[in-house]
Amino acid sequence: MELILVNLIDGLVTGLLLFMLSAGLTLIFSMMGVLNFAHASFYMLGAYFAYQISLFLGFWMGLLIAPVIVGLLGALVERYGLRRVHQYGHVPELIFTFGLALLIEELVQFIWGKDQMPYTVPEILQFSAFSIAGNAIPAYKVFMIFISVGIFIGLLFVLTRTRVGMVIQAALSYPRTVEALGHNVPLVFMGVFGVGTALAGVAGVIAGPVLSTFPGMAVVLGSIVFVTIVIGGLGSLSGALVASLLIGWITTFAKAYTLRMEDFLSWIGFHKPVDMSESLLRDVWTLTSPQVADILPYLLMVLILVFRPYGLFGKRDA
């Protein structure tokens, strides 16, 4: 029972981290209609910048400065890259961000090399906040939860209470009319792209120390973020939140509890062959949930797209 609580907390941390990425991605998608493949690359940049800054100014300055740099970089990418490609249509846009993801990974390796970076949790947070039935919850996790919830609330505030937020919301629902109202839509686009990537940067800064800072970190997380927003429904912020938490918990629980395919197959009425060595599906019979935990979101996405192309909360399909 206590373990369930612990897993709930762990899943929450994963889910909130995912949400920080998927929130930015959703904002960008809803505004500009482009699925930013390089989103996780900005997350990686966040971690690397923060590491570099932390060497000189410590972790906290890294947390403060790195996302700003990432956001500025994102705005530049929008201004000088995406805006140019936009005229060619959606597919080239997707391809552009795909290429950008490759390029950023190469640049990171060019600057920092291919090894893991010794980017660590600040000393002040290196203790266990509390423990449940012998399972320690590190203080850093609690810190991560606070940061993500804080950002979520901040985002909510900006979107619902400020003028800029109103414009963005309007642009989400009626992309064409906002321009007609005299708002500088390109500037709004640039701003949203910058803020979206900065959010990814924050995620990178706080995830870097626990999930390792290495050139492959974008790829590991990258496609899962798209999966999240597709499951949640493209363009839906609440969908992104629900899907993030869902994926966080699904993967955590699938890892934590060993469910066996054998039981499942028997339950739906298959009989396990006596001689397994000849069966083409012998490996399927022995599957367990921890084995496939991090692949489950992809399965979920394909199923959702097949049966409900708008995702859980989406209204428009791409």
Binding site: V85, G99, L107, L280, L305
Partner: protein, 427 residues
């Protein structure tokens, strides 16, 4: 003049003009191994041929059908696995199936898989299709390490191509024999893919790419048009997989993972999706770049990434697009006008690029070479990477080159405009 003109395809019965490129291409393929005789050269040419088939198949989706797939390697990989299994059956049961027909089985299996996946993935185009292809690609790649019985785990499945019955006394012991087999299949599948684009469903694939809704009001279901293109693309990808199996006699997880899918997107786009020969160019250039560049520099992937992003930004038509931009000046007999401005702009630009690359190489060396190892050589010159002079020279060259290029760019633009204007003003 926009380059959209060039997307128009002309209805033409089979003529000498139509057949000529094919004849030249085939002749070229026949002669190549006489020029480049080493086994490694032939290996690289085989690799090129396989990549061409795969890239052409990918372009059936991206270029002709407007479907952006992030998982096309699945169909090539599946075809490859099936083929290598077939090779083993032939060996184990002494089946009288000659090796050269094997790619057919790869193709059919790839097609079968494409039928299953396509039945739900082609319902929508655009982002939904792209995401399903990504998800399916990821799932099948994950399965490939889990389901060992079919995929052989990370070691893959290997076979021996020489175990089948000899064909006209050829046992396929040597690379050159495999080369001709591959070349035959290359020409055959390229021709079939070309002809496919001339069929009603091939034409409608273009229509659906341009305007799926309008196609619906012409009696065609966009979804089924996409489905047929998808299945055909799966078939040819499977053939590429079969050729891979024959060439390397081993098929592994890397043949169907996302890296492979991503690189075929890269190759096709670099070559140009708007023209049939684009992917062919892309495959040739990419394979050469990969082999040559990766031997010259450690950061070749960085250059490749830069090249790719630059292509998307400035030349969305790819290499083929750039080439075909020049058909009008040639037709107008004004290509001559471009020569001088090209030299005056592109030469400095090239020098600027070389300077930039030099600077990057030095920086990389500074940062990543072992301590104390200061010597590096670049462009056949050896020097101390830790001194200021070399990098200063590189930066100055880069700046100077780009400055010159930029200064001369208006001239090029004028010449370009002039070369594309028919005599006697705008038509």
């Amino acid at each position: 003049m926009t380059d959209t003109t060039l997307h128009s395809s002309q209805p033409r019965l089979i003529t000498l003009g139509g057949a000529l490129p094919w004849l030249i291409g085939s002749l070229f393929l026949l002669v190549m191994p006489q020029v480049f005789t080493s086994n490694s050269a032939i290996t690289i040419m085989n690799q090129m041929a396989i990549t061409i088939v795969f890239a052409l198949s990918y372009n059936m989706l991206l270029g002709q059908g407007g479907m952006l797939s992030f998982g096309h390697a699945v169909y090539m990989g599946m075809g490859g696995f099936m083929c290598v299994h077939f090779m083993n059956y032939i060996e184990d049961y002494s089946l009288p199936i000659p090796l050269p027909v094997l790619p057919i089985f790869g193709g059919l299996f790839g097609m079968g898989v494409a039928m299953i996946i396509g039945s739900f993935s082609t319902r929508k185009a655009g982002t939904i299709f792209a995401m399903i292809s990504l998800g399916v690609g990821e799932l099948i790649a994950a399965c490939s390490v889990i389901i060992v019985a079919f995929f052989g785990g990370e070691e893959g499945v290997s076979g021996d191509r020489t175990m089948g019955p000899p064909v006209f006394g050829i046992e396929f012991l040597h690379q050159i024999e495999v080369y001709y087999l591959t070349a035959f299949w290359l020409v055959l599948s390229a021709l079939l893919m070309y002809l496919f684009s001339r069929t009603p469903v091939g034409r409608m694939a273009n229509a659906v790419r341009d305007n799926p809704e309008r196609a619906e009001f012409l009696g065609y279901s966009s979804r089924w048009v996409r489905f047929f293109s998808f299945v055909a693309a799966g078939f040819f990808a499977g053939i590429a997989g079969g050729l891979f199996a024959i060439n390397y006699e081993i098929v592994t997880e890397e043949n169907l993972n996302l890296v492979q899918s991503g690189s075929i997107l890269l190759i096709t786009f670099l070559g140009g999706v708007g023209f049939f020969f684009g992917p062919i160019l892309g495959a040739i250039v990419f394979t050469l770049l990969q082999s040559v560049l990766s031997l010259q520099t450690e950061i070749w992937q960085l250059y490749l990434g830069l090249l790719f992003v630059a292509t998307v930004m400035f030349f969305p038509g790819g290499l083929a697009g750039v080439i075909m931009m020049h058909t009008l000046p040639f037709r107008l007999g004004k290509a001559r006008l471009l020569l001088r401005p090209y030299v005056k702009t592109l030469l400095p630009a090239l020098i600027g690029l070389l300077g930039t690359a030099g600077g990057m190489e030095i920086l990389y060396h500074l940062r990543h070479a072992a301590l104390g190892e200061n010597e590096m050589s670049l462009y056949w010159i050896s020097f101390d990477s830790h001194s200021v002079l070399p990098i200063a020279i590189c930066l100055l060259t880069a700046a100077g080159g780009f400055w010159l290029a930029k200064r001369n760019a208006p001239e090029l633009a004028d010449a370009w405009h002039e070369a594309n204007t028919p005599n006697g003003g705008v038509a």
